[in-house]
């Protein structure tokens, strides 16, 4: 079985079980390991990618769901908000172990794409599905605000 979709801007056809979660198709079939496995039940957000621009949990999304659609992973971030988020992550020294940070950055980027000036409550709402066991939360919050400020027009 093959599934065709746009992965990080490139038309892509993967040969894989269509029930395979998108997470594993991205990691093991497409060879893009930046997206991480954390829980397998959409509870932790480590696997967050963008599907047609919206943050989704790839660990519970069957590959077949994305046929004909656009998937963006951490490796494919190119937009101004995405670059601002990544720069803020480095500037504020957010990562500790770093394992959850791809998912955090994908959620934060999706937030800024639709809400360029999020409040703390907006950040809570968009980011509470992403667990960080190192509890880098105070810096994630500060980095999202810093990223928003850096792209303010």
């Amino acid at each position: 079985m093959t599934t065709s979709f746009v992965l990080n801007g490139n038309p892509t056809t993967l040969q894989a079980d269509p029930t395979m979660p998108l997470l594993w198709a991205i990691r093991e079939v497409a060879g893009l390991p930046g997206t991480k496995f954390g829980c397998g039940m959409a509870l932790c957000g480590a696997c967050t990618v963008h599907l047609d621009g919206k943050a989704i949990r790839s660990c519970v999304t069957p590959l077949s769901t994305v046929a004909g659609r656009k998937v963006t992973t951490i490796e494919g971030l190119v937009t101004t908000p995405a670059k601002a988020v990544q720069a803020a992550w480095v500037k504020l020294q957010v990562p500790q172990c770093g394992y959850c940070q791809s998912g955090q950055i994908m959620s934060a980027t999706a937030l800024l794409e639709t809400n360029p000036a999020p409040s703390d409550a907006d950040i809570d709402s968009a980011m509470s599905g992403n667990i960080c066991r190192c509890a880098t939360y105070t810096r994630i919050r500060a980095a999202i605000h810093a990223a928003a400020d850096s792209i303010k027009v």
Partner: protein, 728 residues
């Protein structure tokens, strides 16, 4: 090499200028690991390799001016790589923008943790403390050799030379040479026996906010974790472990698993039945399809409530003495006022974000392991034993660990041994196999922070002076039966009582006793180890004693710490910065707690809001820390922030419970951890110090629980004797 992924990496001076400001710190230093092609240290340091100067086991300087620091400690989030590089680069006077970090191979002769003796490993917040002098000397001696090389080439006295940012200068003759230009000569010179280390006032990197060497790679998805290892022909294995601790495989039917497309082989190993497949998904489906009959005749089948009943009984029976001064029982008996309380602490899972994993490539002669390895030489020995090889035949590539909190440091090397045993059962034919745990495997996999029961009594005289303190602790030993069992003295595992037996308060009559239990549940150290429970018991109880004495919790503690200057100083600083005496509106409360763990002193003041439904929201935590010489204030702050979030998650939600031996939790839905919306504001204040550095990875966890509990009491008048807090 991709050391500098940004083209405009600033010089060290620019970094130092910008580090204290909000200006962009663009410096990024990559830790490079290039999969199977990673060059071995041996190859890199081979004699005759003129392009490289390897003055010692911790440093290589290339003709290209690159400075490679070899880290003997795993980077699992705590900032060890950055700290290690900072200390070496400081004494070397290296150009920080050219410094990168590589992990050391398993080699106890060169890379032992000096705090552990003859073990290479990371734990007990010891990375910087044990490496401090070793790494300073490594950098300083290399600097001296480079200076000697320049002196030889230029035929000038060493005393006339200066070094700045990786370049040696002779001001008078207007000569200069980069380290790279000097490596060939330096490599021919003898290593000095001793070296004059810098006066701390001359530090240029230590004490500054050097950017983490791993921040960029961990912000663009390129950081290499074990789960990311992809080797040619690699297969993925999932292991079905027994549903009860101590159960074993009786019989199994592999056929339904083997029928799943992509499943390559089903093998039985001592730990259960493994499904080896071409992908995670096939292995997972294969494992789900396995039919296994378990022999649970020797398994642990009790429930948490039964264990707790037994622990309560043991608290009233004679136990091993961990500390005894004066006669606590008599003093309490004779006291004007008695206070008593008992506390219950659950089993806790570490739940690092990266579920445990290891890649093993095994042949009849060699075993190669990739893992976020925390106990390299213990894991090497256990892997060798499992494979039937000598330890020298086992090599370990230590990768970034996606969190650990103690989990990857276990003397049985559980996940490493599983991976090797699967590779062996598969045929030891050199096929790389990645063992991947799922979150459920992790939560139900044991090696938990032990469950404990604490009983405390105190006596106050008629002036409100604390004159007697009795503390009984009941729980399993972490060290019993393992490589660290030699540290158990007179029936006391120090990791069961630390933080309680080491209580700093001046109390004339004190006894701390331990009753060590046995259950079938495997246990392990969990971030801040003994102090993860003892500090709660001590600091919640002392608050209750202070209240009984009619005194403020801060004032009461301070008086008992008159002869503990470092403890007292963090207590005072936290109270001052938190505005301890300023009033709070109704429904809010402020609580304080202080602890020493791994020779680091931490005090925290928590401010909480308690809703009408009893719901607790921690609004703010003010933290003061004395960890000796602060090597990197930003990483110290990050570890305090993280420790506070980690401790708060455990206090509010953390519990692993058993029902007839089965673990009742399985994933983050029922083993809850802290999330973004629950994270308080955190302020960290670091005490200036020129004492040797101590660790920061763990101590920030210790005072958080009791500070919050004491704040809840201040807000509601209710004490929490059971962890996690029932109302959360």
């Amino acid at each position: 090499m991709t050391a500098n992924t940004l083209s405009a990496a600033p010089t060290r001076r620019e970094f130092l200028k910008s580090a204290g400001t909000a200006g962009a710190v663009a410096l990024t230093i990559g830790f490079e690991w290039v999969g199977a092609a990673r060059r071995s240290l041996a190859a890199a340091v081979a004699p005759g390799a003129a392009a490289t100067f390897t003055p010692n086991a911790f440093l290589q300087i290339g003709a290209d001016n690159s400075v490679t620091v070899i880290a003997k400690h795993v980077e699992m989030g705590q900032g060890a790589y950055t700290g290690i590089a900072t200390v070496v680069a400081e004494e070397l006077d290296a150009d920080w923008s050219l410094v990168r970090v590589e992990s050391a191979p398993a080699d106890v002769k060169r890379y032992a943790n000096l705090a552990f003796g003859t073990i290479q490993g990371t734990g007990g917040s010891s990375a910087m403390a044990n490496s401090w002098t070793q790494l300073r000397e490594a950098g300083g001696k290399a600097r001296a050799m480079l200076l000697a090389a320049a002196a030889k080439e230029w035929k000038v006295p060493v005393a006339d030379l200066t070094v700045e940012e990786g370049t040696v200068y002779h001001a008078g003759k207007k000569l200069k040479a980069t380290f790279g230009a000097l490596v060939a000569t330096a490599a021919t010179l003898p290593v000095p026996e001793t070296v004059q280390l810098k006066d701390p006032k001359d530090f240029k990197l230590i004490g500054r906010r050097a950017p983490r060497v791993d921040a960029a790679a961990k912000s663009d998805g390129t950081a290499q974790f074990t789960i990311d290892v992809a080797l040619p022909g690699m297969l993925v294995a999932l292991l079905q472990r027994p549903p009860l601790f101590g159960a074993t495989v009786k019989t199994f039917d592999a056929a339904p698993a083997a029928a799943i497309p992509g499943v390559v082989k089903v093998v039985q190993v001592p730990g259960g039945v493994a499904v080896v497949a071409q992908s995670f998904w096939a292995a997972k489906q294969g494992r789900d399809a396995l039919i296994i009959q378990w022999d649970d005749s020797k398994a642990e089948k009790r429930s948490t409530a039964q264990l707790l009943d037994e622990y309560r009984r043991l608290a009233d029976q004679p136990a091993a003495s961990a500390r005894k001064e004066g006669d606590a029982a008599q003093a309490i008996k004779n006291s004007a006022r008695k206070v008593s309380a008992s506390y219950e602490f659950p089993y806790l899972a570490h739940a690092p974000m990266e579920p445990l994993d290891a890649v093993v490539k095994l042949t009849a002669e060699r075993c190669e392991i990739w893992a976020g390895d925390q106990f390299q030489t213990i894991d090497q020995a256990n892997a060798a034993h499992t494979a039937g090889l000598d330890p020298q035949q086992v090599s370990i590539h230590t990768l970034y660990a996606g969190g650990s909190f103690g989990r990857r440091a276990n003397v049985g090397s559980d996940y490493i041994v599983e991976a090797v045993s699967i590779a062996k059962a598969y045929g030891a034919d050199g096929t790389p196999i990645k063992l991947q745990w799922t979150r459920e495997d992790d939560i139900r996999g044991g090696l938990y922070r032990p469950m404990y029961f604490h009983k405390l009594e105190a006596g106050l005289d008629d002036k409100g002076q604390l004159n007697g303190w009795r503390h009984v602790i009941v729980g399993q030993s972490i060290m019993a039966g393992g490589a660290f069992a030699g540290m158990i003295k007179d029936g006391v595992d120090p990791t069961s009582v630390e933080g309680a037996s080491t209580i700093a308060y001046a109390i004339p009559n004190i006894s701390v006793d331990l009753a060590t239990t046995k259950t079938g549940v495997p246990v392990l150290w969990w971030r801040v180890v003994g102090s993860s429970h003892t500090t709660y018991a001590v600091e919640a109880f002392i608050d209750e004693v202070a209240h009984a004495a009619g005194q403020d919790g801060f004032t009461f503690r301070r008086k008992l710490l008159e002869h503990q200057p470092r403890m007292k100083a963090v207590l005072e600083l936290a109270a001052e910065k938190a505005g301890w005496n300023t009033p709070l509106p109704p429904g809010k409360g402020r609580g304080i707690a202080v602890a020493e763990a791994f020779k680091t002193y931490v005090a925290q003041v928590a401010e909480v809001s308690v809703g009408k439904d009893g719901q607790v929201k921690v609004d703010r935590v003010v933290c003061a820390v004395d960890c000796g010489t602060p090597i990197n204030p930003d990483i110290i702050a990050a570890q305090m922030e993280g420790g506070i979030g980690f401790g708060l998650g455990a206090a509010l939600y953390g519990a692993i419970t058993l029902k007839d031996g089965r673990i009742e939790q399985g994933n983050f839905n029922n083993y809850r951890v802290l999330r973004m919306n629950e994270m308080p504001k955190v302020e960290v204040h670091i005490l200036p110090s020129t004492q040797p550095p101590t660790g920061v990875g763990e101590p920030g966890v210790a005072p958080l629980g009791p500070a919050v509990a004491n704040a809840i009491f201040a807000a509601t008048g209710k004490r929490n004797y059971v962890l996690p807090f029932p109302n959360a």
